[in-house]
Symmetry: C2
Subunit: 564 residues, 2 copies
């Protein structure tokens, strides 16, 4: 092939670099685009009132027609969650097909349905080892083990060479479903020579290899054996193999299982339907039947492993769950680790359970959780199997991207061929080599209610101000002619502690308003002229100064001037 | 002594049980009171805009005259921080003396001075092993090792027997100052038979014993040896022995030290003044002199180990510190662990440092931090040394109180003599035995600006609503006679993303207001009468419904009716 602009393979991360979450990568070749993953992130505490955080995919707006395919590696929110928003915002009319393995496809359809987009989008199931064409790309799913079934890496072939985005993976040699990461295919790709590897960095900071998922079962079984009362196990609802192992441990001890929490019930149903969960019908009881059995015949599987405020377990811990009341003798098993940032919520939940009198077993007490992300030695194994020419660590904060890069160096990749990038910085590869391309707009967009949009700094700054110090609203009614006050000023406040309507300060505040108006109306009489905006500004400043002097706080002050 | 009401020893925890922080205990005997510690807590993210959290000490209001002494065990905020507020609220005129060891007394004075209370309160230094009388109590400070110098347990003697509140402690056998916890005196107390032990439970969940503070120095020295560029060490500013060890490690490697951060500089000065910190004058340089030295001759000691937003290190990580700009080659050493709840802030700081190109070393990479709280085996050692009749675990969430109680059982204390209490639940001991007394009001009070008060649920709920969804203010000006609208309604909003003045929704909202007014004014014409409150309510409901339908959010709606 001759040298032309179409020769450049461009890999543009829009999310997942310098952060954990909202993974999304745009791959371009010969004017065509494949999107790999459309993930979201959950807002941090300072993103007041924001529902979800999406990658800024504005770059795609002008390129919508060039997108040949969206490929989703697996069904976790940080890989699939933004799909309906990407479809709605970028492809309202004619979206490209969405490709995924069966379970992931089922989850994609369910998400699109929630947003009434299931009729619009063609979600196509693909099996591994069965490549297909999409524009100038040959696409292929490659089976990897992870904490959800049907997880895949994406192999992207172009005339220039073959690249792979690993998605989330570990090299579990004894996975619950007996299907380890497809090392033969990885080795084959390595023999042919992989042009670029974009690899998961989540656990680059952990030495050795992650424990096998199947090592959890015996520990759960052992823990169950020490319990005399009811057992509650909380885990990620999508960790279907974990749920299977809880079921198996319950069966060994002759206990029934009951599922509590919407997402737990939904994933259990999907898992059964797709043949990932096996359980005798007689073993599953409804939550309302729990009290019909002795305590030592019950295992409840529930949501809430992250201390989520409205989750089943959190409500139980608060003695506020309609279906189950915890008591001394119950044992709650956290078969999950807190996601960074959730530590406080998880600890609060645990402490409330202790207060009720329940026993709590966490990953610190027994090895009852295994990460779905490979550790440092697995990352090196991936590099050695696939022998990439270029390496671009993805899925990680800057620390983990750096550590992953160091691992690549350790296994012999030339430092000049390792690219530590950022969201919005594309890697460009052609026959001459690889380099960092020009920066593209990237960042976060927010979902707030029905709306999706750019970060509105003003609105968030206002929310922060309102939440820190509350708000004062003063309404002045003045004569259009004279500028004089024609009725008593109104003072309304919200979010101001230790203050009520009867407080002296409110009377004084009305006086401040009256005086502000008087000052300005004198000007009017002197024919200096007066504008409503001038009065508003003066009111704002006078009231803000008075409130700060009296409270040492700076609530938002909103003056309203009504002219009659 | 004959049996009388004065015979009961009453130990009332007002803070520190079922939580980590705001430690405060009230000890009563024969109508007199000693307060041990007056600590505070930092607000959690959901306490919007609250500055500090104090124990609810309302119980003391009617008993102010009975308080013979306030004893502070050590200078950490969770033991000393509420002192100015307790003085101001409970003893505005005639406060009892405050007793403490020298460093703690210095810190107490400095706090009281900040609140202009230093003239009002008599802060009296006490040495250990020198008991003094306070009403019916014999009080004594007992030296313990902890992560701040001059930490003490408080021994309280009454005619009924002797009790001890440990404060925070560990059994460091090789403390930096060569003064281990006073085991001889503890053993002596045990020989005489301690009536009650109130013991720190903070690390009841950790097995074995805490590493010695002096084990940190060699690891710091070793880490320094691997650094070619500048070294920054962040730690708790009050951990004066840690600062000494950083200084010693710097000296070994021929590096100067410079202190950045207000509390770091203040504690360094106090530590030097009181003879806890030893350093050659020539070794200490000013922050602005840092650039005058080669990178490999610099150690910066700074605040920010918890990722605090305004701390020196956080600002450096944000490239926003006036005095120092970090660059590749710098090494930042976190000689501290994140306090639960601070994990995200610490991780964010670390990741920004990685992004700048700095190397970061934390407690996970090398043993460069030691907890100041004894582990399970130290708690057992304390129990075995002091041989208490009754045990009351303090300083801990419910989990740790429970684990501490289990440790007491392990060493042979009768389960019936171990009391797992809560804030507000007093333990009452007399010659007949011990029992839980009647519950007393307890909980949190908030500091918000200049004000201190009970939890104002309404204000916090309002702040939460404002911060989640923002606020709409609609102002309707109506004729007093006809109830008809006499000027265009005003619509103001704040904290509402994706909305501006030009938005169609604002026009429609004005129409909604006009229609509301019209609806009601028709009533007026029909002589059904109308109240301003009726119009306000109708406006609120109509506007809230419209906004929810359009945005699926529920911002606060504040209607204002101006009658002219």
């Amino acid at each position: 092939m001759s040298a032309s602009a179409g020769d450049t393979l461009r890999v543009l991360p829009l999310g997942g670099l310098g952060e954990i979450g909202k993974n999304m990568t745009v791959v371009e070749y010969d004017g065509a685009i494949v999107i790999v993953d459309t993930g979201l992130m959950f807002p941090t505490a300072d993103m007041l009132g924001i529902d979800l955080v999406l990658p800024d995919f504005d770059y795609l707006r002008d390129r919508a027609d060039d997108v040949e395919a969206i490929v989703i590696t697996h069904g976790h929110e940080d890989h699939i969650g933004a799909l309906p928003y990407v479809v709605r915002e970028i492809f309202p009319d004619d979206p490209p097909p969405v490709y995924a393995a069966p379970l992931t496809a089922e989850m994609a359809r369910s998400k699109l349905e929630e947003h009434k987009l299931d009729e619009v989008v063609d979600v196509i199931e693909r099996d591994t080892l069965e490549p297909w064409e999409a524009g100038p790309f040959t696409l292929e799913l490659l089976h990897v083990s992870h904490s959800i079934p049907d997880a895949c890496a994406v192999v992207i072939g172009t005339e220039l060479g073959t690249m792979m985005i690993t998605g989330d993976y570990k090299f579990d040699q004894t996975p619950v479903d007996g299907q380890p990461t497809d090392m033969s295919r990885l080795a084959e790709l390595g023999q042919d020579g992989l042009l670029l590897l974009c690899g998961d960095s989540t656990n680059a900071d952990r030495q050795g290899i992650a424990p096998s998922e199947s090592s959890i079962g015996p520990h759960l079984e052992e823990a169950f054996g020490r319990c005399d009362g009811r057992i509650l196990v909380t885990s990620f609802a999508s960790n279907i193999h974990r749920i299977q192992q809880v079921i198996d441990a319950a069966a060994v001890h002759g206990r029934k299982i009951s599922l509590i929490g919407r997402s737990m019930r939904r994933n259990f149903a999907i898992g059964r339907k797709l043949g990932h969960i096996f359980v005798d019908d007689g073993m599953v009881i409804k939550p309302k039947e729990i009290d019909d059995f002795p305590d030592d015949e019950i295992v409840v599987i529930c949501t809430g492993s992250q201390g989520e405020p409205l989750s089943a377990l959190r409500r139980m811990a608060n003695n506020d769950h309609g279906q189950i009341t915890l008591h001394s003798g119950d044992t709650v098993i956290f078969s999950a680790s807190p996601v960074p940032g959730n530590e406080r919520a998880v600890n609060e939940t645990i402490d409330r359970l202790f207060h009720i009198g329940a026993t709590v077993i966490t990953n610190q007490d027994a090895p009852i959780h295994a990460s779905g992300h490979g550790y440092a030695d697995e990352l090196k194994l991936m590099l050695n199997l696939t022998k990439p020419r270029y390496v671009m660590p993805v899925h990680g904060d800057f620390k983990r991207l750096r550590l992953h890069a160091a691992l690549a160096e350790d296994v012999g990749v030339d430092p000049g061929d390792i690219f530590q990038l950022e969201n919005g910085l594309p890697l460009e590869i052609d026959s001459l080599g690889a380099r960092v391309g020009e920066r593209v707009k990237s960042g976060m967009i927010f979902v707030d209610g029905l709306e999706v949009g750019d970060v509105e700094d003003v609105a968030l700054r206002d929310r922060r101000m309102l939440s820190n110090d509350g708000v004062f609203i003063v309404v002045a009614t003045v004569s259009e002619q004279s500028g004089e006050s024609v009725s008593d000023p109104e003072v309304i406040f919200r979010g101001v502690p230790f203050l009520d309507e009867e407080h002296d300060m409110i009377d004084e505040l009305r006086d401040v308003v009256e005086m502000s108006i008087e000052d300005l109306s004198r000007k009017v009489k002197n024919s200096e002229g007066i504008a409503e905006s001038e009065l508003r500004e003066k009111l704002h400043n006078d009231v803000a100064r008075f409130v700060y002097e009296r409270t040492k706080r700076r609530p938002m002050v909103l003056p309203v001037v009504v002219e009659v």
